[in-house]
């Protein structure tokens, strides 16, 4: 298995023995081995942990892709509108700027935070954790970055924006000549990348990997 020498580790890792459910606090033993998938709390059904082979490798690949797609989504317009020879286009930042000009600065800040800052932080934090691990090093500031990631995640709303863009087509379609821009498709792709990463990534796998790198610091 020399080709896997610098891998994140094989899929057949032992699951953590004792876990407390994050939603009902019942401590329970998680059996080692078994099939792929998520392990649910036996009392309330919340996800305790996931057992997916090469979860960290797959998440890293998804996040590198997400970084590129996110950059594209920020550079190109989401949509453009033509009306009697005049042309107008909206980028993500342009939307926030337009709200600010219209006197709605708090809403502009909310839009910029949830569509630009938070997704960027999520991608950056994931890469910060996963790239060094892939290279066989423990990431700097592990605790701080993990806490940031946990705080940022609920506020990144790429998938909600994708739905809103579809609704906007309905609002503008009959009004004028509407063209979908590159960022429209990029945000749609980003939605799938984040959704996939969310179902595959497991922080228990991350910490097990870190513990394997630093045997002395293992609890």
């Amino acid at each position: 298995m020399a080709t896997l020498a610098r891998d994140f580790g094989s899929g057949e890792r032992a699951a953590p023995a004792l876990l407390a459910c994050p939603e009902c606090d019942l401590a329970q033993r998680v059996p080692a081995g078994g099939a792929w998938g998520a392990i649910a709390c036996c009392r309330c059904g919340a996800t305790l942990c996931r057992r997916i082979p090469h979860a960290l490798d797959v998440t890293l690949a998804l996040m590198i892709t997400a970084a590129v797609v996110f950059a594209i989504a920020n550079v190109f317009p989401v949509m453009s509108l033509d009306m009697q020879g005049r042309h107008n286009e909206a980028t993500l930042l342009g939307m926030a700027k337009a709200l600010h000009r219209a006197g709605m600065t708090p809403v502009a800040v909310l839009v910029a935070l949830t569509l630009i800052v938070m997704p960027a932080l999520e991608i950056a934090a994931m890469l910060w954790l996963l790239v060094p691990l892939r290279l066989g090093m423990a990431p700097e500031g592990l605790g701080l970055v993990s806490r940031t990631l946990a705080a940022v995640r609920p506020w990144a709303m790429v998938e909600v924006f994708t739905l809103a863009a579809l609704v906007s087509i309905g609002r503008l379609g009959n009004l004028a000549d509407l063209h979908l821009g590159v960022a429209f498709w990029a945000m749609g792709a980003l939605m799938f990348l984040f959704a996939l990463a969310d179902t595959i990534y497991d922080e228990h796998a991350l910490w097990e990997r870190v513990a394997a790198l630093r045997p002395g610091a293992a609890p």
Binding site: N88, L99, G143, L163, A164, V167, G170, R171
Partner: protein
């Protein structure tokens, strides 16, 4: 003496819950339950209730056209416009995301807070699931804010046609953020604690 699970990395730490301790693995502060969960949830909920009426009654978008005709749309009238324009699936999306979900969030979180106070011991699994649902769907209410932002960004053809945000945009945006904060600060483990305390 007992076990405390870390909120960030899931590690179980042995120790007393009242002492200020940090997780042995990731260094995050250890707490048995989310701090001041009930007080914070109630405060955020109260503020969200106050904003619910202006968010739904005031115009969220104002459209101006050549000839001086100015029209103001509330969330509901915007959805009805979509419906009459033949885009009824999108109208249903807006009705669910902007009217049903925010209201359901307020009602469900209020019910959960009341049931913790009363120490209700029935349907614990169902109530935990309901909390999980509310926590997950919360962000989808932002749809209307983004639709508004796109329209305001795109339709700037002075004096032919312009779209500008109405006062409900601030109330609605703040309402979404407040209900999200309310559901993040609520701790579903309190449901189980309250039931356990009643059983003795």
């Amino acid at each position: 003496m007992g076990w405390v699970a870390c909120r960030v990395c899931g590690q179980l730490n042995r120790g007393r819950a009242d002492a200020r301790a940090c997780c042995a693995r990731c260094g995050s502060e250890l707490r048995l339950r989310k701090p001041e969960a009930m007080a914070r949830t109630i405060a955020f909920l109260a503020a969200a209730y106050v904003l619910y009426l202006p968010a739904n009654l005031l115009p969220i978008l104002e459209t101006g056209e050549l000839g001086g005709a100015k029209a103001a749309d509330t969330i509901l009238s915007g959805a009805l416009k979509l419906w009459h324009g033949g885009w009824w699936p999108l109208a249903i999306v807006i009705l669910i995301a902007s009217i049903v979900i925010p209201f359901a969030k307020l009602v469900v979180l209020t019910w959960l807070v009341v049931s913790v106070r009363r120490g209700t011991a029935t349907r614990l699994r169902g109530r935990t699931r309901l909390y999980r649902l509310v926590d997950t769907i919360g962000k989808w209410s932002m749809v209307d804010i983004y639709v508004g932002a796109l329209l305001v960004g795109l339709v700037q053809f002075e004096p032919l046609a312009t779209v500008s945000p109405g006062p409900a945009a601030i109330a609605f945006g703040a309402g979404v953020v407040l209900t999200m904060l309310a559901s993040h600060s609520f701790d579903p483990r309190l449901l189980w604690d309250a039931a356990g305390a009643r059983r003795g």
